[in-house]
């Protein structure tokens, strides 16, 4: 028997990871150079959560997916033109600052308040999805904090799979050390699931899905509620990117073993 689920996916937008990112100090604190100029994408982990949510909803008729996203309205609109072609959802945009240098507690407060006020959302059918990590500069705790603010105590992180049972309970596979999964059984909704990559491929772009989503998306973007995030005394001592080095050399006629040896030697020397 199908379960009717109300799945809320919290998903931020981040600069396209293919771009060159450069930290800078702005009057508002740390930021990335030209961030409003750089193309953005849906946070990759959260995107996996969205695809899993849509898959789950499709298998459980009557279910619904909301996508709650906080970011500059113009950027959200831009990103959604791609995301909206992939799966069905209702966008709940919150017009806020760009970047991940915000206080996770302040972000969580805005998200929780928005989710709690969603019309038609039934808490006892709620699955709160998001990424267990973020490609923003976030601390990776926002989803847990949103769950806590909503009073949801069953929380799972690093999720790769959820299997619903007829009685409303579900089994969750969470990543643990050693490349293994921990299997847990949860009695039922509500619950928080912070997704790792899941098992689904990125859905194809489907113009009809896009057209269907667009009917609600543009009005929602036009009415997006502005949000100001409290700094809460947060101060960054320093900001840096992970060190990246590139050494390019064209080689021919080298065996895989020889290449591997050279790579190991190069890594060892760094």
């Amino acid at each position: 028997m199908a379960n009717v689920l109300h799945i809320v996916v919290c998903a931020g937008i981040v600069p396209d990871p293919l771009q060159t990112l450069e930290p800078v100090t702005t009057p508002a604190g740390p930021g990335l150079k030209n961030e409003m100029v750089l193309p953005a994408v849906l946070d990759p982990w959260a995107a996996c959560a969205l695809y899993e949510a849509a898959h789950l909803a499709a298998g459980n008729p009557g279910s619904k997916v909301w996508l709650v996203s906080l970011g500059p309205k113009a950027k959200l609109q831009q990103v959604m033109m791609t995301v909206a072609q992939k799966v069905n959802f209702e966008l709940v945009p919150i017009d806020g600052p760009i970047g991940g240098f915000t206080d996770a507690h302040a972000t969580a407060a805005v998200l929780a308040e928005t989710i709690a006020a969603l019309p038609g959302l039934e808490r006892d059918r709620l699955l709160l999805f998001g990424g267990w990590e973020s490609a923003t500069r976030g601390s990776g705790v926002t989803l847990q904090l949103v769950g806590e603010r909503l009073g949801i105590t069953d929380q799972f992180q690093g999720v790769d799979q959820i299997a619903l049972r007829d009685d409303g309970s579900f089994e969750v596979l969470e990543r643990v050390e050693g490349g293994k999964h921990q299997a847990s059984v949860c009695g039922g909704t509500p619950a928080v699931l912070g997704w790792a990559t899941g098992n689904l491929a990125e859905p194809r772009n489907n113009p009809q899905v896009g057209m269907a989503n667009m009917r609600t998306m543009m009005p929602a973007l036009q009415k997006a509620k502005p949000a100001t995030l409290a700094a809460n005394g947060l101060r960054y001592a320093s900001v840096s990117l992970p060190k990246q080095q590139r050494t390019t050399r064209v080689v021919k006629d080298m065996t895989a073993d020889a290449i591997a040896s050279e790579l190991a030697e190069w890594i060892g020397a760094e």
Binding site: T20, A74, Q78, V250
Partner: protein, 623 residues
């Protein structure tokens, strides 16, 4: 049952596919489409109750206008431009350049003839003679850093009052306003496979198949490309777009028209050193180096960013048209290096330019379709301007469509000709195109002759020009048999060098010809592959077919020039083990240069390479 047939498809038409009805379907989002959709949305905002905006396919709903763009983001453009912005400012009378990232008003414009400080470029005797005179009388002519500055900027090149922009940022700025309006939908990441035909009429667009292997065969997650049926199909997919090419194949070109002249524009966006004296709004036009046929530019954006690039034309007869290597030498010319040294590469990109201008103009209208922008032959090759012209053709179509919708008339060849074509013919775009029509003829007889011809056309408003027979692009590539003995020896040296260190032959050939090796610094001077990673960010989603097709494998294997390899902007085409060029979709930046950099032709007119609709490409908004 529909009689529509797709073009450029790799699958039989009996595949079960989705279909959708809209009022207006658009292919490609660039400046021309921006102009078209802006015109519609501005009228819609002014009066949403206008009956023109009632959908015919969804009664009770607003006009259904959808636009499909191949690139993964509408900001993924590949061009820094300087434009007079006449048409753009007509659409936005209160335009404030500061609202568009990387845009600034033109403050200073200069033209330089660059001497060759290395001695490796292929200069004619006449040019060497002129260079020698300039070199010996440098002080007299004010030569500095091996560059001779023209005392004035010819009027036809002048962009004063215009804008320096990033097309990527401009597209994003326009697109945001369009989508905010709620009238139009612009869908990135959705390539259009081709038009839907009913005889010679166009009835809509077919989107590409997804979930296929590189050869187009169905694979996991196959999803047939949707048919988007529309009363009007607007084609603005550029000079190498699949829809435009399919139309050209089906309908041919008007009598006397041909697309024989091309160029690839390749540029870098460089962050200047902190102490750079270059002012935002500075514009340089250059010629003479790295080869006499190669024009160059430098446009200074705000925040110490500069676009620097070159145009490598089809009339550069040498088959080793290595744009990236040439670009590296160009930025190191003393006149530029003085400012660019210690800069950092932020972005990089390339694009084919259709340089036939009005001579390459296709049928602009037909039953159910209209063509706008560069692919419609709007680029002015005398002024070196395309963005403003493209934008304006879009606005002209927008006005025509509004007129027809208000009059309740269908979109036929006759009605579109009487509204869109009529506007275009009466506009400055057409006047400029006619002036420019023969301006570059002389280049097919040499650079000096080309410059004289261009000056003649420019200074007389096109009334005087040089005549020329312009062969198809594949015939503009010099036959290997015509190489001199000296050149043959250089090729032998290059081949040895290529074998020794694994570099591409064309790159080795430049070294053998005397071009110095590039001293990579890891910041600005980087290998071609590093540029793909640092400055271009190329990506291709799985599940799409290859879009570069070698039509007759035998011709490719027998081809000695293999110009497709040397000219490939992304090193996506390499020599395969069997002699057939190998294509890697994951490296392709969709510049389309391979389409016209092919010395072989199965039919005497078109090259042996087919450039289809494809997904992915360059990810950079700073272009």
């Amino acid at each position: 049952m529909s009689t529509s047939t797709p073009t450029g498809e790799t699958h039989a038409p009996e595949i079960d596919r989705q279909a959708m009805e809209v009022d207006i379907a658009c292919a490609g989002f660039g400046p021309a489409m921006g102009g078209f959709l802006t015109t519609l949305t501005q009228a819609w905002k002014e009066n949403p109750a206008d009956p023109a905006f009632e959908s015919r396919v969804m009664p009770g709903m607003p006009l259904q206008v959808v636009c499909y763009e191949r690139a993964d983001d509408i900001a993924a453009g590949v061009s820094g431009v300087v434009t007079r912005a006449r048409g753009i400012r007509t659409s936005f009378p209160n335009l404030n350049a500061a609202e568009i990232p990387m845009a600034v008003e033109v403050k200073q414009e200069r033209v330089f003839y660059l001497l060759d400080p290395i001695g490796a470029s292929r200069r004619s005797f006449t040019l060497r003679f002129c260079d020698a005179i300039l070199g010996r009388t440098g002080a007299l002519f004010g030569i500095k850093d091996h560059a001779f500055e023209l005392p004035w900027t010819p009027g036809f090149l002048n962009k004063h009052g215009g804008l320096v922009m990033s097309i990527g940022q401009f597209n994003q700025w326009v697109g945001s306003q369009l989508m905010e309006s709620g009238l139009v939908q612009v869908w990135p990441g959705m390539p259009v496979s081709g038009p839907l035909f009913a005889d010679r009429a166009v009835t809509g667009l077919r989107l590409v198949e997804q979930g296929v292997d590189k050869n187009g065969a169905q694979a996991d997650g196959f999803m047939a490309g949707m048919d988007v049926r529309a009363q009007l199909t607007v084609v603005g997919d550029g000079p190498v777009g699949a829809v435009g090419h399919a139309l050209d194949q089906r309908l041919g070109l008007p009598e006397g028209h041909a697309r024989h002249e091309w160029a690839v524009g390749m540029k870098m966006v460089i962050e200047l050193p902190e102490d750079s004296p270059l002012e935002p709004g500075t514009v340089w036009h250059t010629f003479g180096f790295p080869e006499p046929e190669i024009f160059g530019f430098l446009y200074v954006h705000p925040e110490r960013l500069v676009s620097v690039g070159i145009f490598v034309p089809s009339w550069l007869s040498d088959p080793s048209r290595t744009a990236y290597r040439y670009l590296q030498h160009y930025i190191q010319h003393p006149a530029l290096w003085r400012y660019l040294k210690n800069g950092t590469l932020r972005s990089w990109g390339a694009k084919s330019l259709e340089e036939s201008g009005r001579r390459g103009e296709p049928f602009l209208t037909g039953n159910g379709f209209a063509r706008i922008g560069e692919g419609s032959g709007s680029t002015n090759m005398l002024t070196g301007s395309g963005v403003d012209e493209a934008w304006t053709t879009g606005t002209q179509l927008g006005q025509a469509v509004l007129e027809l919708l208000r009059a309740g008339k269908p979109f036929t060849r006759e009605t579109l000709a009487a509204t869109y074509e009529m506007r275009r013919r009466a506009s400055w775009v057409e006047r400029g195109a006619r002036e420019a029509e023969n301006a570059r003829n002389g280049f097919h007889g040499g650079v000096v002759r080309g410059m004289i011809g261009m000056a003649l056309a420019g200074l007389t408003g096109g009334r005087l020009s040089l005549g020329a027979h312009i062969p198809p692009a594949h015939k503009q590539i010099r036959e290997p048999a015509s190489h001199s003995v000296e050149e043959g020896l250089r090729r032998d040296d290059a081949a040895a060098l290529a074998v020794a260190d694994g570099r591409p032959l064309h790159d080795a050939l430049m070294t053998a010809r005397g071009w110095p090796e590039i001293a990579f610094d890891g910041r600005l001077l980087v290998s071609h592959q590093d540029a793909l990673l640092m400055g271009g960010k190329v990506q291709a989603m799985p599940g799409y077919a290859d879009h570069v097709i070698f039509r007759d494998a035998g011709l490719c294997i027998a081809c000695e020039s293999k110009t497709c390899i040397s000219m490939c902007s992304g090193q996506a085409i390499t020599e395969g083990a069997d002699g057939l060029p190998a294509f890697e979709r994951e490296k392709c930046v969709h510049c389309g240069a391979c389409l016209w950099n092919c010395a072989q032709s199965p039919d005497g007119e078109h090259s042996n390479i087919e450039f289809r609709a494809g997904a992915g490409g360059l990810h950079s908004a700073e272009n």
